[in-house]
C-alpha cells in the first residue's frame, strides 16, 4: 500500500532518480491543484469552460477594498467547487496600493488531517 493519499506529476517534468517523471504527493499535489485553479481564468480550459475563477478581470480594476472583496469571493468559490480535498479555514487579502498587487494568504486543512496548512501568494497584473 502506498504511503500517500494524493499523487500528481511535477509540472516541470523533473525526473526522479529512476528516470520517471517526479511525483508530487499529498501536500505538493494539492498545491499544484490550487495553483492551477488560481492561475486559470474561466473559459481558458478546453471542454471545461467553467473551471477556475474569473478574477483576472478584477486585477485590472482599481486596487481597493471592493475589488479585494470580489477577488476573495471569486477565489473561494472556485476553490470550493474545484478543490474538494481541502476545507478553507481562513483567507486574507491585502491590497498594496504602491506596488499594484494583492498579497494573499490562504489557510486550509486537508481531509483526513487536522493540520492547518498555509499558502501565501501574490496576485498582480
Amino acid at each position: 500500500m502506498a504511503d500517500y493519499y494524493y499523487s500528481d506529476y511535477d509540472e516541470n517534468f523533473n525526473r526522479q532518480s529512476d528516470g520517471d517523471v517526479q511525483q508530487d504527493k499529498d501536500l505538493a499535489a494539492i498545491y499544484n491543484s490550487l495553483q492551477n485553479i488560481i492561475l486559470t481564468t474561466q473559459g481558458e480550459r478546453r471542454m471545461l469552460p467553467t473551471f477556475a475563477s474569473n478574477i483576472k478581470g478584477l486585477l485590472f480594476e482599481p486596487i481597493d477594498e471592493v475589488s479585494a472583496r470580489l477577488i476573495a469571493e471569486g477565489l473561494l468559490d472556485a476553490i470550493k467547487v474545484w478543490e474538494t480535498r481541502i476545507e478553507v479555514t481562513g483567507f486574507d487579502i491585502e491590497p498594496r496600493y504602491d506596488e499594484n498587487l494583492y498579497r494573499c494568504s490562504l489557510k486550509y486543512t486537508i481531509q483526513n488531517s487536522d493540520e492547518v496548512e498555509a499558502l501565501d501568494f501574490i496576485l498582480t497584473r
Partner: protein, 572 residues
Amino acid sequence: MAEFTPEYLSIDFLSLIEKFKTELGNSDIFRDYDFEGSNIAILMELNAYVSELNTFFINKIAKNNFLETADVYEAANRLARQVGYEPKGTRSARGTVTITASGSAGDTLTVKPWRQLNSGRVDEDGNEILFATTAPVNVIATGELQDISVPIRQGELITLTGYTGDDLIDNELILPTEYGYDDDLSDELPSLQVTVGNDIWTRLSDFYLDVLTPDSDDVYMFIYDRYRRNKIVFNSGRNVPAETDTISVITLNSLGTNGSIGADVGETWIIESDNLIEVTPSAGTAPYYLDNESITISLSAATIGAAAAETISEIRFNSQSALRAQFRNVNSNAYNSYLSARSDVVKANAYGEQDLVPSGAGDPEEYNIVHISVIPETYGSNTIQTSASTFTTDWGQTGSILVPTQYSSSWNDALLLYLRPRKMLCAYEIMEIPDLVYFSFEIGIRKKRIYEFIDIQQDVLAKLIYYFRNDNQAFSSEIDFNDITEYLIDTTEVSPTDNFTNIKGIRNLNIRDINVSKTVYEYNANPDNPNLFPKWTIAPWTNRDNMLRPIQLGLNQFPYLSSDTVSIIEES
C-alpha cells in the same frame, strides 16, 4: 484479440477521458486524475482533445472517400465524376409561350433565339422573372393573326465577351461566379451558346460522344465543378481554341426553383430585346423585323423543370443510377429516366416481352423489341399529331378529348437518335403511340357552414386537375377512387403554386361515379392470360353495386382528366 474495427464515433473527448481514468485507476502512480485542478487532469484533457480532433478529421476523411457516406460537396462532386457522372448545377424553368403575330401570307416568320422576355412577375425576393428564347422557331405566315408556340427558358440573358484562347487554363474557362448559370443539357433548347471565332461550337455531355450532325470536333462541355463553379471545358483530344481565337458566351442567369411560374391570367409580357420576330418575305425581298408593339405573348401552362444545383444526396442517387446503367439503357427505368430528361418529353414508358408476355413461355416475335411510349411536352405537328374527339359522361356532360394519331417522322427519328448512344446492340426500339385514357368523375360534397360551395368546387377541380397533371401521372398506372378521395381531402397535399385552401371546407366528399373514355374490361384473375386494358383490378362484388373498383391501365395507356365533364355537386 485486438479489435481492429475503427469505432470513430466512440473516441470522443469524454469517452477518452473515461478511458484514461480507468487506466490510471488501476495504478497508484497518479491518483489525482479525478481532480480537475491537478496537472494529470490537464494532461489527460490535452490528450483527449487532440485525439478527438484527430479522430474527427480521420473520420471525415474516411467518410469522404466513399460516395455513399460523403458529406463534403467537393468530395461528392469528385467521386461522382470518377464514376462518369457530371453533377448538375442550377436548372431553369422551361415552358412554352404562345406568341401572337401576323405576317403576309407565305412569308416566313422566325422567332429569333436569345431574346429576352419579361413575364411581369417577381419572385419572393423581388427579382424579375425573366425568360429567353434560346432556339429559333420558324412558321409560315397565314396572312392573319396566328399563334406561334415558342419554347423558352427562365433566366436573364448574359453575354460574356473578351475571352481568348489565351485565357484558357488547362483547357478550361471558369465563368464569373456571381451568376446562377442554367446547366440544363438540351439539344433542342440550349441553355448557353459558345462562339469561338465566328463559329458556334457544340455542347456535349461527354467528350467520348460523337457529334452526329454535323460531324465536328468543335465541342465543349459545360461543367459544374467541385467548388460549385461553372466552367467551359475543351478537350485536346478534340479541338481547343487557338490562343488568338476570341471566345464569347451567351448564357442565362437562372433563378432556379424561384423562377418557376404558373400559367398567366392576363398578365402583360414585355419584350425586352429588339427584333424578336424576323420576317423573310416569300417574294425574296430583304428580311425585316416585326414591330414588337404588334406582338403579344401569353403562357398557357405552368413552366416546369426548374431545379437548384444538385445536393450531395441527389448526386449520390443520380450517379449510382448512372453507374448501374453503365451508360446503356438496360431496363425500363433507364429508358424512362433518360427519355424524361429531354425537355420535350414529360413521361415515357419502355416495355418489352416480359411485360407483354409475363408467362415465361415468351413470344418469339417480341424478342429484343423495346416498345416505347412517350407523352410530349406539347402535342402538335412537331411531336405527336392528334385528332379531336368528344367524350360524353353518364351525367350528360360532354367534353373534347385528344386522340394521338401518329408521331411526326422528324420527332420519331429525333427520339431514336437520342437513344442511340445508350442503345444495347441487341435492342430494337419501336415508338408506340400513347393511348390517352380520359377519366371523369361525379363528386358529391357536403361543406362546412362558413365556406362557400363555389370556392370549394373550384379548389376541388383545381386539385383534381393537378392530380392528373402529366408529370404527376405515369403510364400503366392504377386509378383508384380511394386514392383520389384521400388526396382531395388531405389538406397537406398542395401544389407548388396553389394551397387549395378551400379544401378545408369539405365535411364529406364522395366520388359517386367514374366514367372512362374507353371500354373498361372485366377483371381477369389469371394475369398470364392476354390482357385487355383498361380493366378493373378486382372482381365485381356479388351483393352490391361496385362501380368504383380501381382501374388498371395498359402499358401504353396514360391517364388524363376530362376536366370539362367533371361534375361537382353539393349534397345536403
